[in-house]
Symmetry: C2
Subunit: 409 residues, 2 copies
Amino acid sequence: MAQANPERVLRDLHTLRAMGAYRTGVHRPTLSAQDMEARRWLVAQLRETGAEASIDGIASVVSRAMGDGPKLLAGSHLESQNHAGWLDGALGVVYALEAARAVAEDAGLAGAGAGVDVIAFADEEGHFGHFHGSRSFTGALTEAEIDAARNRTDGRPLREALAEAGLAGLPRAQLEQGRHGAFLEAHIEQGDRLERAGLRVGVVTSIVAIWQYRITFEGAQNHAGTTSMAARRDAGAALTRFCQRIEARFPEVAGPHSVWTVGRITLDPGAPSIIPGRAEMLFQFRDADRAVLDRMRARLEALVAEANAEGRCPATLETLGQSEPAVMHPRARGALEAAAERVAPGAWMALPSGAGHDAQYMAPLMPTGMLFTPSIGGVSHHWTEDTAEQDIALGAQVFVAAADALLRG
Amino acid sequence: MAQANPERVLRDLHTLRAMGAYRTGVHRPTLSAQDMEARRWLVAQLRETGAEASIDGIASVVSRAMGDGPKLLAGSHLESQNHAGWLDGALGVVYALEAARAVAEDAGLAGAGAGVDVIAFADEEGHFGHFHGSRSFTGALTEAEIDAARNRTDGRPLREALAEAGLAGLPRAQLEQGRHGAFLEAHIEQGDRLERAGLRVGVVTSIVAIWQYRITFEGAQNHAGTTSMAARRDAGAALTRFCQRIEARFPEVAGPHSVWTVGRITLDPGAPSIIPGRAEMLFQFRDADRAVLDRMRARLEALVAEANAEGRCPATLETLGQSEPAVMHPRARGALEAAAERVAPGAWMALPSGAGHDAQYMAPLMPTGMLFTPSIGGVSHHWTEDTAEQDIALGAQVFVAAADALLRG
């Protein structure tokens, strides 16, 4: 039976941690020198398993195992958020690499031509766009979208960054329909549910949908000293009032696991002595239940209508994205649960993923499962993000055992 | 008696309007090519009156009338806010120029050695700092502050901008104590009180004080999908709640003319899927009454204390500036009121200035008065700002008549 080698997994994770090291985390934005170093390192590791491996035209690392037997697809992403954690993405890539190695080293599986194709999807963290790697691999990313994509931090065109990385003109790898029996992704939880429950492994039930909106208020820009309070049409004040409507009225329609967030507020022009003439906020909510999502959307529309009926600064609601919840497949989820119960009896739980993952793009196309390791203190997208090393090792054993079981059918 | 020439005033204002024209307004930021063109133009006009005139080391234009008789100081500023109105600043400079010309043309006053010194204070609009021109002229601006000053839009050092304009190393003009019997400044109202009252001239009673604060909320940055609503310490939500406290509770302590404004809100890191770990707002209030200012400050402190007592995101209050209200001098104000009643009987009113002006720095040093022209629609700091041409002409006549009266004692 294919077995994970925990020392090898930890060694590889520490090797990646050194690429773009920032305090105890990493700064490895998509297509940075450190990110490309990590991608080239992964290609070399994958070739050592006997697979074909390369970086494709969108910067995903893709490998193809030899043999005519059953195949799995496994992976995650290599780039990080800015100044963020060492495990977000890298953990799932190294688990997938370890699964490929363990299967290649298992005489029975290798002899039967079984194998694990590994993928490190480009730019899951969205430095240049929205899930470019998984959307390219599944055929949803157009050349026109790549033409238009720019780095969210410095505005640099994606085409320019790809060319500097030596990837211009390379083909973009496409999923071969029917090749893989399942897709598995491991990831750090990014929340505190495992830690609060005192558990060491999580098996994902579904990945929540994210519904995102821009809400804009139009007022009248004017001088903050000479315009009486009664005469004002202050777009910023309209916006902060609207935030309080959300705070008061969203709990009435939300589900027990729903979350909602105002992540950005912009007052225009943003000067201390000018009444904001325009104000804009980015708002999102998440849930795994479509009915709850629909209720929250209806409430949002109602609050915008109320604000427009009462206020002097017209509000506009613009939909930026509404994804579908992705339910994990019973076979993939079952393999992970059975492996967890065998390797870590009583120390695992099933839970939804509050974060988006590349797996949500694979779920419509093949049986897909996800495994979580605990986040210490629930920290995510910060350089202090971490999982205890014994839990990293345990997760690898569960992951490889599930891959083994899925390959044996 | 010295008389304004309204055609000359309008011609000059239209000449300045062409320097950095933007739609019907101007874009003439401090030390831009268009701003320097305006300053050089003013120097040339002042020299034609027989005065000494030059641009000094902080970019103020300063003239010195000839003769040993009584002198007034008059002026305002030439630069504009970005993409703003054609009259904000320029109107007061052209009225002062017209007063200097009219006095020089008046045989009696000129024969007695009377004259009007004109000043266009640098950077009243604060592109590089806080009232640099008037604070330099009155000795409050240090070399160290100039060393540290940077453009608020592009971060360019003031020293670099001064050097490129050819002003590096020039002396900075200083007020000669006792030289001037009074300071007069004219300005567009920037509010709608004259228009609402159907009046054409305003005489300022006092310039409000501006008290400015930065209020910061510290939360915990975390993932917007995986952190439950109960576990969050959302600094942005704490900030918008605080804004609602201000909206609800400031009217209880404010005076009838008090104004308060949240001009800028920044959520850190400002990403759609990250719970803000830090949030900051710029808040200011204004009033001409020190007792009202003290009450509003006490209320602000109380609201911060309440937020800290109830909330999970500690709030910090930082004072950015607390100026004193500037009361206009009875002699200067009286000269303006008498001139207004003679030139525009029944068509003027006394009113406070809600905006800050260079005059507030002159008021502690000599008898100071201010005149307002009406703002159409109350618009300010926007390219649509305007005063009817017949009101511009009327204002110039009042201004020159008041200067004449003050020079004659």
